[in-house]
Subunit: 104 residues, 2 copies
Amino acid sequence: MSKDQLNMGATIMEDNTVYIGRKPSMNYVLAVVTQFNAGAERVTVKARGKAISKAVDVAEISRNRFLKGYDLGEIKIGTENVEDEEREGGINVSWIEIVINKGI
Amino acid sequence: MSKDQLNMGATIMEDNTVYIGRKPSMNYVLAVVTQFNAGAERVTVKARGKAISKAVDVAEISRNRFLKGYDLGEIKIGTENVEDEEREGGINVSWIEIVINKGI
């Protein structure tokens, strides 16, 4: 079974980051839990634009249902300029990063 | 002109909280800026569910365009149980709170 099949299609980067996209929230929750089960001490959930709400859902569902006792780490927000064919200068898109720590 | 007209319909609570709903982001940005102009030292932007993405947009647009030099304060996320007619036990909804500080 490939890494991608194991993660049910959710992208996991090498630095224990789970990027939230258009798949159902539970795919990303599983990606987070899988990272911890593979030995990660912390996992960062990242999203841009409308996926930000889903990132918060993923962090909350992970912690409340599967990772009880794990701590929320730093939560950062920011703005990124993204190229857009129809808009000179690109468009500004908000992003969020939510860190979950394994704790002690 | 009533307070509500001034705020273009965005709800402002007395403790300088702006609740994000279904209106366009700029209505809430104006509500945030209005609170600071009225003397607030800090404003909290709150949202639940799908409005969470818009809350991050509102905080980012406020800071980048209208409140340059203001600081992001604490960002909290959590889960709230909300009554639902169709689901016994209600449904869990994620929320976010973003504090913006006037700074020094």
